[in-house]
Every structure is written in C-alpha cells, then in structure tokens.
Amino acid sequence: MPTGTRHAAPNEGNIMFRKPRRKLYFLIFVLPTLAAFIIGFVYPFFHGIYLSFCNFKTTSNATFVGFDNYIAAFQNEGFVRSFWFTCMFVVVSVILINLIAFFVAYALTLGIRGSNIFRTVFFVPNLIGGIILGYIWQQIFNAILKNYSTNLELNATFGFWGLIILMCWQQAGYMMIIYIAGFQSVPADLYEAARIDGANKKQVLSNVTLPMMMPSITICTFLTLTNSFKLFDQNLALTNGAPGVVSESGTMIYQTEMMALNIYKTFYSNANSRGVGQAEGVIFFLIVVVIALAQLFLTRRKEVQA
C-alpha cells in the first residue's frame, strides 16, 4: 500500500458522499447492480434455501415438509454415489493439474527456447467451452477405444480417466500462467543469497522456491478444487453419466455422474423430486463452502513473507 493512502473511516462516509447527497448517488451508482444482483443471486439463493424444506413442482405450489427432503437426499443412492465419484475425481485432478502446471511453469521460467510459443499453446484450451471440449474428446476417446471394441459409454473407468485427461488438458495451462507469474515474482536476491550460502538445487527448491510459491499454490489449489467440484459442462458432454448400472435396490445408478450433473438430473428428469433436488443443491453448496474455507485456511498458514 503506498504511503499517504487514506481510507474513508468506516460508518462515516468520505467527503464525496456526504449525508445529503449520499442517497441520491447510491441510486445512481449502486442501484442498477444491486437490483440485478438481487434478481440474479440474492432472491434465488434465499428462495432456494426455503424451497429445500418444501415439496413443490413449481414455485407457486410449495408445501412445507421440514427436513424430509434432506433425509431423502441422503437416502438417494445416486446422489451419494455421485458424491464419492466427485471426491475421487477432485483428489486426482487437483493433484495432477497442479503438479503438471507447477513443473511446466518451472521449466518455462528457466529460459528455454520457445517458451512463449509453449505458453500460448498450453493456454489455448481454456478458451474453448466445456461443452465443445467434451464433444471433441468424446470423439477422440471413442475412436481410440473402438480398437478395443468398447467406448466411453460402456466402461466407467475409461469415463473417469477420460474426464481427468480432459480436465488436465484444459486447466493445466491456466494454472501454469498463475505459477509462471509466481515464479517471476520471487526476488532474484533470494536465489543469490542461497547460492552464496552454498545451497544445492534441491535445497533451493524446498527452502526458497516452494515457500515463496505458497501464495500461487494456494490460489491454484483453490481454483482447481472449486472448478473440479462444480464441474458440469464437461461431465455432461463427455459421458452424460453413462454407463448406468441398476443397483440392488433397483434404482439406476450412473457411474460417471458428478454431483452437479446428478442434482441437475434430479431436478429436470422428474418433477416429483424437485424438493429433493433443491435440498441436494443446498448440501452441495455447503460442501463447496466448507472445502473451500478449509483449503484456504490450511494453505494460507504455510505462506511466508519475503
């Protein structure tokens, strides 16, 4: 923060927005965004929480049922299964994406020939949307798997790893950009000092680079974690949850369905289960918040000041 910067004292308002005109300018500056924000987020959010305690087909005929929807959600085999599938996917993809991105970024900051071209190439997949990516990779995987007379819709293992490959291909470049910025912001004199102290490459990496990279690592794990957890488009386009297997209790369980897709299907494939779907949405939201906060807390602790 540059010295001389003064912040408006809380609750007082600065000279710009003195009492008499504060309200008028609130209308001009804030109201358009606030109105849209209420329509687009605040109202749907609270209404959603309310509806998760209701039985409804449309929003007008909701009847209050208490925690029934939540109980039904936890008894919904498909939902529980999609939770574990999502967890597995998140763990593998977060680790792989960050490892790949970290080492690619490291290599690209060494000054090897063609760094700029590589950086451009690795970033491009991020600009292509999940639906289109899913379709492209579906075609590629199925063309390969045809030689082994199977396809993505028959084998959940291939579906899982297909999704992992797709996500690495798409996200590694984005995280790489953040890691490169991180590497470039490590002060050169720290390396200089380490070299003078006689540290070898491994020691420099673990005692200088890694601690200084913690902010970037925090951000990238946060982004990959929430992105992977909320993944929808790629999942829908690549496998759409297939293959479906009938469980012992007779319900159809989709093997490669992640939570977002499962909730979507609960909502829109069966109008009678909308209350359950909304409750699952709230559970999903709570899980994402808890995981995001826990992750931020854990990695922030490891950050150091230069």
């Binding site: 923060m1 912040h7 408006a8 609750n11 308002g13 600065n14 000279i15 710009m16 927005f17 504060r22 609130f26 804030v30 965004t33 849209a36 924000f37 209420i38 329509i39 687009g40 987020f41 605040v42 109202y43 749907p44 959010f45 209404h47 959603g48 509806l51 690209l108 060494l110 000054g111 090897i112 063609g114 700029n116 590589f118 190439v121 970033f123 991020n126 600009l127 292509i128 949307g129 999940g130 639906i131 289109i132 899913g134 379709y135 492209i136 075609q139 950009i177 953040i178 910025a181 902010p215 982004l223 929430t226 929808f232 488009d233 829908l236 939570m259 977002a260 909502f267 909308r274 949405g281």
Partner: protein, 289 residues
C-alpha cells in the same frame, strides 16, 4: 510484443538439459494442439471417412470439401448464423453492462463504506463460491416471472450473477487509488459523477481489461445458465452444440465438426488479438482471489 522483449533480456545459454526440455515440450505441444487439429481435419471429411478413422488424413474418397460447412449452417433445423449472433450479442452486451455498472458500484461501495455498503460487498464475495446448481431452479423461475428470458433480459441476469467477481476485482483496485485525487476534484466542484468518469475510470483501465477478459471467457462458454433461462427459440453456441450432441441416433458428425471449427475461430482471433491482456487478466484475477 512487450512480453517477448521482457523474456529475451536474460538470454541464457541453452544447456543440454534445456535442449531436452525444448524437445519434450515440442512433443507435448503437438499433443496439445492435436485435438483442435483433428477437428479441423475432420470437418473436411465425409461422415463415412470420420467413422472409418478419426485420425486419418482426408483421402480422395473421404474429402468432402466445404460441404459439411454448408449442411452445418442449418443442421439441427436451426440456422447457425442466429446462434453465433445470439452468442455475440449476449457476450458483448453482458460484458459491457457488467463493466459499466459494477465499476460504478464498486467505487461507491469502497468510498462510501457504510454498513449497507459493506454488507453488499461481502454478499458479492460470497456469491462467487455458490455453485450454480443451488440457485438454478429458483433463478430460472424468477427470470421467467420477470420476462427476462430473451437475449436482452438475460443481460440483467448476467449482471447479477457476474457482479460478484467484478465488484470484488474493482474494489480491490479502488482500495489502492489514493483518495486525495478524488477529494481535490470534489473540492473543485466536480461532483461524484464527473469525478468518477473523468478521473477514476481512466485510472481503472487495467482492471477494466482484466474483468472484461474473465467475464468474456465465462459468458461466451456458459451453457447451463442460458439453457435454463433463454426461451427455446434462442440458442447460444454451447446450447446448440449440446443439442446436436445429445440428439441420439443418426448424427451428422462432419457437420458438427465444421460448426465447432466455426465457433472456435472467434475465440482464437480474440486470443491472438489480446493475448497479453488475457494473461494479465488471468493473473490479476487470481492474485485477488
């Protein structure tokens, strides 16, 4: 390009290890562009050629010229030019609206800093974590009730749903601008509107570009929000693609491939036109997150 000049400065001698890395990355790059290349290649092949071998180059029999581009234009009984226009309209309109409204909002929230402003600000941050599935049903019903299910109406939804990230990034920047400049302008009788548009807005230009890039990438590729909210007579590119992909049975793969090529082209142009800004946008979006 500025980034290029910066990186050529420490021109290091290429050691053996670095040469190996260059070769390794060259191979990796080939794998990276391969999927896009495969799509382009197959858009010029007949359907038979595609199902015989996705990875084969077009031969004399399988070469289809631009035919699949012609059929693709109206494939799925929906004119593709309308899809592209809808996507362009929503993306440009949505980003412009978000930039204009949220920059004003963020400045007021930061400078006024009352309890109400703080509540709004923290709610904006909070909205970034909430998964879309939590609000999708109520949001689409709200949009229906308010008749926002047109390309014009959805801009308001995008403003509301995209406000979180934008307000957050603009606020972060406003915090770092010394308030004295604005106070001086105010003392001279400029008033908040003139102060904002004359002084604050020009200073905020880098953040404007960053926010614009991030929101463009989001809105252009967004599938579920427009799918649930827009009336069925409008389609954006992702909606159209998923519709074509989901229609089981006989699908015209080469037509789909040609449409993918057409919908990737604008993104690639966009990327090469403002590559520097995109990379800065990604980094500053992350640093503030």
């Amino acid at each position: 390009m500025a980034t290029k000049a910066k990186e050529q400065k420490p021109k290091k001698k290429q050691t053996v290890g670095m040469k190996i890395l260059t070769i390794l990355f060259t191979i990796l790059s080939v794998f990276y562009v391969a999927p896009v290349f495969i799509v382009i290649m197959n858009s010029f092949k007949t359907n038979g050629g595609i199902s015989d071998g996705l990875f084969n180059f077009p031969t004399a029999e399988t070469f289809n010229g631009l035919n699949s581009y012609y059929t693709g234009m109206f494939y799925g009984n929906f004119p593709f030019y309308k899809t592209i226009l809808t996507s362009f309209f929503i993306t440009i309109g949505g980003v412009a609206l978000i930039l204009f409204c949220t920059s004003m909002c963020a400045w007021y929230l930061q400078r006024s800093n009352t309890i109400v402003c703080k509540i709004i600000y923290y709610f904006c941050i909070f909205s970034m974590v909430v998964p879309f599935q939590m609000v999708m049903f109520t949001l689409s019903k709200t949009a229906d009730n308010l008749h926002l299910n047109t390309p014009w109406g959805i801009l308001i939804i995008y403003l509301g749903f995209g406000a979180g990230l934008a307000v957050f990034m603009f606020s972060g920047f406003v915090k770092s601008i010394p308030i004295e400049i604005e106070e001086a302008a105010d003392v001279d009788g400029a008033g908040p509107l003139k102060t904002f548009f004359g002084i604050v807005l020009p200073i905020m230009k880098p953040t404007f570009i960053s926010v614009a890039i991030l929101e463009t990438m989001w809105i252009w590729n967004d599938y579920l929000l427009p799918y649930l909210i827009l009336d069925k007579s409008y389609r954006t590119i992702p909606i159209h693609m998923q519709y074509l992909n989901g229609s089981y049975g006989h699908t015209d793969t080469s037509a789909i491939m040609s449409l993918i090529v057409l919908s990737i082209v604008p993104i690639i142009i966009f990327y090469f036109a403002c590559q520097k800004y995109i990379i800065e946008g990604v980094v500053s979006g992350a640093v503030k997150g």
